[in-house]
């Protein structure tokens, strides 16, 4: 599996005085089983970019390639392609519409042309991946809690067995536990199915905890693309783009300034514990 973009550019309101490049010359290579975080301030072009990645928007300039094929070339099956690159929008629970949970999740695979039986099998698998058990199948989606609704909506995309799962702020508005449940499921799913996950998020702490590679987009252009530890070293630059670094980056920087030995690149509480304790062990020897 390989999803690439070449010189991808999209201009809104082309030809008017409001013309604005929402994304500008984006070149990306996305490979199998990656866990990618996509960050950028509101209006930086994140949403425009991900809508190109599954062919919902067509670039003004440049191309998107799926396994080497231009997704807008003649004879390319874009409907099937959207089954391979699944996009979960912000607040996906607003898109639930069926009378019960199982039917709602079946909608995607059925739409791809699968039989009722196959669709049901995939839907059940997807629901179990997000931790929704059988007792929910016949419930109305509207009777579920916010976190449950969102997991059902994610299952609706997972049921199409996407090789790339793109989630646009999947935890917005959820409480901390709901947030951990969703991101925990997504992380497990990636391990179990081998798919690639692209997580769009405003929470640097979530990005630090879950992803491996971070792509930073600013004014429609890619500013950084690399290992999260490398990207989050650029605290000042990230701040100048309206972003921030994980809490632990700031703490480790302060500790270093105060003369502590901080090791390198702790991004989460878990990672920060040992390097800090080390400072006190040495003194005891």
């Amino acid at each position: 599996m390989e999803l690439t973009t070449r010189n991808l550019t999209y201009e809104y309101d082309s030809g008017t005085s409001y013309a604005k490049k929402a994304i500008d010359d984006i070149n990306l290579v996305i490979r199998e089983n990656e866990f990618i975080g996509l960050i950028g301030h509101t209006g930086s072009g994140k949403s425009t970019l991900i809508q190109h990645l599954n062919g919902l928007l067509r670039a003004t300039k440049g191309e998107v390639y799926w396994n080497g094929k231009d997704i807008f070339s003649d004879g390319f099956d874009r409907r099937e392609f959207r089954g391979h690159v699944g996009l979960v929008f912000q607040y996906p629970e607003y898109q639930l519409f069926e009378t019960d949970v199982l039917k709602d999740v079946c909608f995607g695979p059925k739409n791809l042309g699968l039989s009722e039986e196959e669709a049901t099998k995939l839907a059940k698998e997807a629901l179990s991946l997000v931790g929704i058990n059988e007792s929910y199948y016949k419930k109305s989606p509207f009777d579920l809690s916010g976190g449950e609704k969102r997991r059902v909506a994610i299952a609706g995309v997972l049921a199409m067995r996407p090789e790339v799962l793109i989630l646009d702020e999947p935890t917005a508005g959820l409480d901390p536990k709901g947030r951990d449940e969703i991101l925990g499921s997504v992380s497990t799913i990636r391990k179990e199915t081998g798919n690639t996950v692209i997580l769009v998020s405003h929470s640097m702490d979530d990005i630090a905890e879950y992803v491996e590679r971070v792509i930073v987009i600013n004014n429609g252009r890619i500013e950084y693309d690399g290992d999260k530890r490398e990207v989050f070293q650029h605290i000042d630059e990230l701040e100048s783009m309206g972003l921030s670094a994980p809490q632990m980056c700031y703490l480790m920087r302060d500790l270093k300034e105060a003369g502590f030995n901080t090791g390198d690149g702790a991004l989460t509480v878990e990672e920060a514990i040992e390097p800090i304790l080390d400072n006190f062990r040495r003194r005891n020897v």
Binding site: G173, D175, K177, Q247, M248, F260
Partner: protein, 287 residues
């Protein structure tokens, strides 16, 4: 006199099941809260804990099924007082896009005062002052649709300020914003609180936003289950986690370090405090 005086309120949502039988759900259960003018209060709780239902009682969008709510001494159940209550206590919601009604920023901010019959010259004066206060004056002639989420929320706050409120209730105002937008909105709320003595009730899931509040209330199952200063509340790391909540990252780290034998004190909320504490401990190890 407390500016907000909530006395033992309960609230039941009424609904009907498939057979048309009435079912009711108790969303608030014996909630009591006293807030003095100029306080900065944070309310935490997981999704469905009753926070938003509670917030809607503070400007009479909902009236309690039991108990009473007094805002600046006015009973919210007295429908005659509702316009005055809404002038005194304005509300900011989560989604900035749902709150914009006008096509130009200054008209957006002037909508409230115009609606209550403030004379036109006075409206423009208030609009100017309000936009200055939230740092959005430069955008007064812009279209709200062209603003970022954080800017829209600040315009929404200006719209409330133009009503000269005593109190602002913000229900997860930063949930949809990027880090800069989030910081800007929280800073504006603190500045209004400090400079103009506006009472602020901030409802949020973001624990880092709560560390500077005067008091924190934690809700669960429609009840207030924990309240106190941020230091007091966040010292209960395990209780908070049981309530599907969290504590600030720095507090979590301090807690983990303590569990591993480092004598870190309780109630650490900020980086500065943790650095200072670690330095102190380091000093004792050297001595």
């Amino acid at each position: 006199m407390p500016i907000i005086d909530v006395k033992h309120i309960a609230y039941d949502y009424e609904n009907r099941d498939e057979e048309g039988r009435e079912i009711s759900y108790r969303a608030l259960d014996d909630v009591t809260m006293e807030v003095q003018e100029g306080d900065f209060i944070a309310v935490l709780g997981h999704n469905g804990s009753g926070k938003s239902t509670f917030a809607k009682h503070l400007n009479a969008l909902l009236v309690p099924s039991e108990g009473t709510v007094y805002i600046c001494g006015m009973d919210t159940a007295d429908s005659g007082s509702v316009p005055d209550i809404r002038e005194s206590a304005g509300m900011v919601f989560q989604n900035p896009d749902n709150q914009m009604v006008a096509s130009v920023v200054d008209e957006e901010v002037g909508f409230g005062p115009e609606n209550i019959g403030v004379p036109t010259p006075e409206i423009w004066k208030r609009v100017e002052v309000a936009l200055e206060a939230v740092g959005m004056y430069a955008y007064k002639d812009s279209s709200p649709t062209r603003l970022s989420g954080g800017q829209k929320q600040r315009v929404a706050i200006a719209g409330i300020l133009a009503m000269n409120p005593k109190c602002i209730i913000a229900d997860e105002p930063t949930a949809m914003l990027d880090p800069k937008g989030r910081a800007d909105v929280i800073n504006v709320l603190h500045r209004l609180n400090e400079d103009q003595n506006v009472t602020v009730i901030l409802i949020t899931h973001n624990m880092e936003e709560v560390t500077d509040a005067d008091r924190v209330f934690v809700m669960e199952g429609g009840k207030v289950v924990l309240h106190g200063t941020p230091e007091e509340v966040f010292s209960e790391v395990e209780v908070m986690q049981k309530l599907r909540l969290d504590v600030p990252e720095v507090t979590k780290l301090a807690f983990e370090l303590k569990k591993r034998g480092l004598p870190v004190r309780d109630g650490i909320l900020t980086r500065e405090e943790l650095v200072k504490e670690l330095k102190r401990i380091h000093g004792t190890y050297n001595a």
